[in-house]
Symmetry: none
Subunit: 462 residues, 2 copies
């Protein structure tokens, strides 16, 4: 791996150009209007994997968007690393908040990134981070440095809940067999504070519909006399948290693991400035469950948030209407041991129970996933830790993340292997938001660090 | 007035034919494509007023559609009645729900109307009801029965908010001077239950904006740790009503008039079937302020309803986002004595006060109007009541409406006179909806009843 730095230096402009080409295709899996673009992106990934030295690259059809698979098996006696990533992206709205078009990538310098960042939807999540692996693979195969077997599985439905991945994994257990799974779809604490995500939250995502009268009504003639679905929905949502911001769904906390004081003290050592956090979000105060710190609230504690709400007249001006229906999209982040299907059922039962007379309530589960924890004494964790030491000169900090990658627990269950989350993004990358970006320094540092993981993992697991 | 019945009998076919001719012109004020039709309608009204015996009939230009004015001053010492109506109509869409073309009137019998109804846009609102006054005037002048002075003011912008009427009224206070204003643009309880609308609710309409973090955030990474504007907005909206559905804004009820038990008992006499009401709306229960009946809730009590709400991801599928902003349109229906500008200020102050730390709140007032009451001991009310007794054989029921007709309080303020709302329409007439219609019985009954109002008002107010 000794010449990785010089290889990157020689090829970095091409690495950036290739990523930019990939970012130009709007592979928005949530919106069927972009179907052709999502499929085109799958094809670009197939070609990239072939160029990086993978064999048997194929576009595996599913009932939704395809999964791109490729592999390089050099010796059946050597360990196998399975790389997972996704080529689909979040919708870019609200478009008017972007400073440049989301699918017309531009490079600009920022205070945090004097080396420049690429602004585009998917720059970090996950096209940029996924493509680091493709380029690391290119280095290892072209320089004859690949120390073990590799398999790639890149899907196109991560942003819509990986709905068809589970069937694919179950049907291809042998093909996907591996010793460790490697994913870059998370972040690290700071450019000079490498970290490895060891825990992920689970997710339950539902959509609710509240129906009052059978048609929109004139608010003068009916106002005050019938249940207004928007007022009722607001009241129902408000009641899901108590005055201490605990979630009120019966049974919701039953399986939540309570960390020991020692563990919480360990967590509290991670560098964190509440002032900087508030300043970066332009808020005068944080908000959340009583008795927990900000970092605990967004990692070891389950939460409930409304992700979208709509109903009635939302256009310009005024319309005095009582809407017939109101809707919300609600998601719960779960911690390990909370089963997402159980929680979805608890939510559904509770939400239906609290509906007042005069309205009808429907709860439609969207999707979900289990939480996950990687032990820091596993081979994979140790190999990743050494790789970061090699390229950052620092031991990375193990960190629980508040996000969910539901497939990680699916992989453990179906493939019986642990996942290592080597993220190179930063909190400030604005993933899922307008002006998403990815630092060029981070992109290249990822490409540099990944081959060392292969080397150390092969050594340690022998 | 003794020969009014026989006069109507002799002329009823002509009365119906004239109304049908008027209904054939699509005077849709909201759609500029119909400008020529709206102007043609103003001209038809001018000719009708002239034929009915009015003097000095003129088309008064405004910045929008003209106001048709006409008068018959028989003696300066006699009282003057000002008739207001409008010749413009609502747009007819959705067209595909009409059983016959909206501007090609047809007469059909229905269960409720064995005498036949006219189906057409504007049949009831307000061409049919306004034209009753023109035909009543024709009777009185042709038979030399006009007991007092009359002024007509028929506008063409009622369905788009009477935007130019206020300026016209302010500029023509002397010309419009009167002792009572008479309007037929409301309904009555049933064909055999005459009623007079004595109260209208006022309105305060605001838009609110709640801002949390300065950008949309990933709900996994930030969920539970920052104030979510949608959850916060829901909580704030929920808190605007207490457990008895009283509005919690401090001072909101200070000026609300509490009706006496006797008055409430009088109101309760109006025939009303809760079962039929629930069935027509397909709801299993009504909802509203504790301690009041449905008819009280939508007439004598002030209310607060959300007319629209939006924020976050509202498209297809799922997006795990914490929105930066959430919005709602909120309107309050007010009762007489509640000043809409005071209430708007109370709302604004309260809503800003209840915002938790971690969010910023903006309240943008849209518009409003005052409520209105006609005392049942006023000369105008007494005259109207006697007129109904004369022609229906029953004392009409005074009834508060939940809707707002802002021009009525404008008239009181600028012209210093009370308005009598003698409506002959029915709830089932489907005004503003497809298949609007007006019963021929109601049309002719209106023409029969109106002259008696003139007679009794002249006698009582002398």
């Amino acid at each position: 791996m000794q010449n990785i730095k010089s290889y990157i230096k020689e090829n970095q402009q091409r690495f950036i150009d290739e990523l930019i080409a990939l970012l130009k295709v709007p592979s928005i899996s949530a919106d069927s209007a972009y179907k052709a673009d999502v499929l085109e992106t799958a094809n670009i990934i197939k070609l990239s994997l072939e160029k990086s030295g993978c064999d048997h690259v194929e576009i595996c059809e599913t009932e939704g968007y395809p999964i791109v698979y490729g592999e390089k098996i050099i010796d059946k006696n050597l360990p196998t690393v399975l790389v997972y990533g996704h080529y689909d992206v979040q919708p870019p709205d609200p478009l008017d908040l972007w400073n440049s078009p989301p699918f017309d990538p531009i490079i600009q310098k920022t205070d945090l990134h004097p080396e420049g960042v690429i602004f585009a939807r998917g720059a970090c999540d996950d096209k940029g981070q996924m493509y680091m692996h493709v380029k690391a693979m290119e280095y290892m195969t072209s320089q004859n440095e690949l120390p073990c077997n590799v398999k790639f599985m890149i899907e196109g439905e991560e942003e819509v809940g990986s709905v068809n991945l589970s069937k694919f994994v179950k049907a291809n257990r042998e093909k996907l067999k591996n010793d460790v799974i490697l994913i870059s779809d998370t972040g690290m604490i700071a450019k000079d504070v490498p970290s490895i995500t060891t825990g992920l939250r689970g997710l339950s995502y539902v959509e609710v519909e509240v129906t009052g009268p059978n048609r929109d009504l004139h608010s003068g003639l009916y106002g005050g006399a019938v249940a207004n679905p928007i007022n009722v929905l607001s009241k129902m949502i408000a009641s899901l948290h108590d005055e201490n911001n605990h979630i009120t769904i019966p049974g919701f906390y039953d399986k939540v693991e309570n960390l020991s004081d020692a563990e919480r003290a360990e967590m509290a050592k991670a560098p964190f400035s509440l002032d900087a956090y508030k300043k970066s979000l332009d808020i005068d105060a944080v908000y959340g469950e009583e008795g927990y710190s900000t970092n605990e609230r967004n990692s070891i504690r389950p939460t409930l948030d409304v992700n979208g709400i709509w109903g009635g007249y939302t256009g310009e001006g005024a319309k005095t209407v009582i809407a017939s229906k109101a809707y919300a999209k609600i998601s719960m982040r779960l911690v390990p041991n909370q089963d997402w299907e159980d929680i979805t059922q608890l939510f559904k039962t509770h939400f239906e129970n609290i509906a007042p007379k005069g309205v009808k309530v429907k709860v439609n589960p969207h999707h979900g996933g289990q939480g996950y924890v990687t032990p820091i004494d596993s081979d994979g964790y140790k190999a990743a830790s050494k790789a970061y030491e090699q390229t950052f000169g620092k031991t990375p900090i193990p960190q629980r993340s508040g996000g969910s990658i539901p497939i990680v627990s699916l992989f453990e269950q179906e493939l019986n292997s642990k996942t290592i989350l080597m993220g190179f993004g930063l909190d400030s990358d604005a993933i899922h938001s307008p002006n998403e970006h990815f630092g060029i320094w981070n992109y290249l540092k990822g490409i540099e660090t990944i081959p060392w993981f292969y080397k150390y993992f092969t050594e340690i697991s022998r």
